[in-house]
């Protein structure tokens, strides 16, 4: 199904989902949007859970932030009390869960967009009236993001393969050693970016203000239906003040 849905429709869907995610304070609404997003991404052929598995180490960082956020929010009624100290309040828990669902919504949005080929995504953005360069750079960024993640992982492993057991180091040394990952990744990214820019320039990229295209997108009734449903749902949520 993912090949028949226009990328502009997917962009619109993502816009609705992420807008609700951004403005909603209600954890139940955020949870529902997350579930709906996962289902939609699955229907479009994306695999949310495969991506989660690949970035699970990064997610530990997010969960750590969530826990810290809930502990340091003092307002609200106590939920977890240890030895007379209020560790977690209901408001803190609410905020932490809200943060978690928003992060998941961002990930789901990426998965939905990635179900279209980068060529079609670029064409969709251009037909929406945005500059080609913007669309191109976005698509290239999306293409290189998984490679960037692989680079982080490889370099983290390479540090351990020097015989260094990172988990046995004191916590401040662990942070310091993790910072060493950035040097090779940044160097490699800058190198790749330079090579890519030379390659596209030698293929006349930005030679003129406009360009032609062998691809042309047309919205079908399915697309209009999805756009209508998304728009109606978003407005209904706002109007009924459920957000």
């Amino acid at each position: 199904m993912n090949n028949t849905i226009d990328p502009r429709t997917k962009l619109f869907l993502v816009l609705c989902i992420s807008t609700i995610g951004l403005i909603s304070r209600d954890v139940l609404i955020l949870f529902s949007i997350t579930i709906v997003g996962i289902i939609i991404s699955k229907i479009f052929g994306g695999n949310f859970f495969v991506l989660i598995k690949r970035i699970k180490k990064l997610l530990y960082v997010f969960f750590f932030i969530i826990i810290i956020q809930s502990i340091f929010t003092r307002q609200g009624n106590p939920v977890i009390v240890i030895g007379g100290f209020e560790i977690v309040t209901d408001l803190g828990l609410n905020r932490a869960l809200g943060y978690m669902f928003r992060v998941l919504i961002i990930i789901i949005s990426g998965v939905i967009i990635s179900t279209s080929s980068e060529r079609n995504t670029i064409q969709g953005i251009v037909q929406l009236g945005l500059p080609y360069e913007f669309a191109f750079m976005t698509a290239v960024g999306i293409k290189f993001l998984p490679l960037l993640i692989e680079e982080f992982k490889d370099t983290y492993m390479a540090i351990q393969l020097r015989g260094i057991n990172i988990m046995k180091l004191p916590i401040w040394e662990r942070f310091k050693i993790t910072s060493y990952i950035f040097i090779p990744v940044v160097a490699s990214t800058l190198n790749k970016a330079k090579k890519l820019s030379i390659s596209v320039e030698s293929r006349a990229f930005r030679a003129y203000d406009r360009r032609t295209s062998i691809t042309s997108l047309k919205l079908k009734y399915k697309d209009y239906l999805i756009i209508l449903i998304s728009l109606t749902t978003a407005f209904a949520l706002i109007y009924l003040k459920w957000i």
Binding site: T155, A158, L161, R162, G163, N165, Y180, I183, P184, A187
Partner: protein, 218 residues
Amino acid sequence: MKDFIVIKGLDFYLDSKAILKNINLTIDSRQFISIRGANGCGKTTLSKLIMGIYPYSKGSIKIEDREVSEMSLSEIGRKIGYLFQNPEKQIFTSTVLEELSFIYKYREDIDKSRKEKEIDEILDTFDIRNLKNKSTFFLSQGEKQRVALASVLLNKPKYLILDEPTTGLDYKRKEMLSEILDKYKNKIGVLLISHDYNFVKKHSQKIISLEGGCIVYE
């Protein structure tokens, strides 16, 4: 010479596609052995499985009688030095000297009093003394490779795995790499992964070919 790496009945799949099928291989601790094959045949995958970088579910890989799946990356790294195909991935610091000093800073099991002497020796062995204070950002491909290999050897591993070390090297740099490998030949075993037949033939005591995920001949 004793069995250092023993692989039995190893299968490996990626996205439901069989990359390696029923790999059986025994590598002695001082042996120089090469694995050849076309791009995408599974050579690098096999080396990463040995190093514990990729997990395996079917078969067995043992290093000195210990199953790789039960070892941490740092334990494997202390036994086997690994040179990535792209040496940039294993250069972490901003100068060559910092890079060579890296393990002395973070490993408690290394004799730090020997740091100056060992770094001094390796600078000469690899002919990188003139690069000592140079930024790692501005090293050429060949220089990065020498620095990465020097850093790996400072670990004093018992075995080395080199993944396509001749990629991007001209004949002079290949000669330099050859000389370095000759210096370590009788001290440490090497598993060389390469499609450069001349280089492989020059150094290897044993050559293995991988085709369609299987060992075709030894």
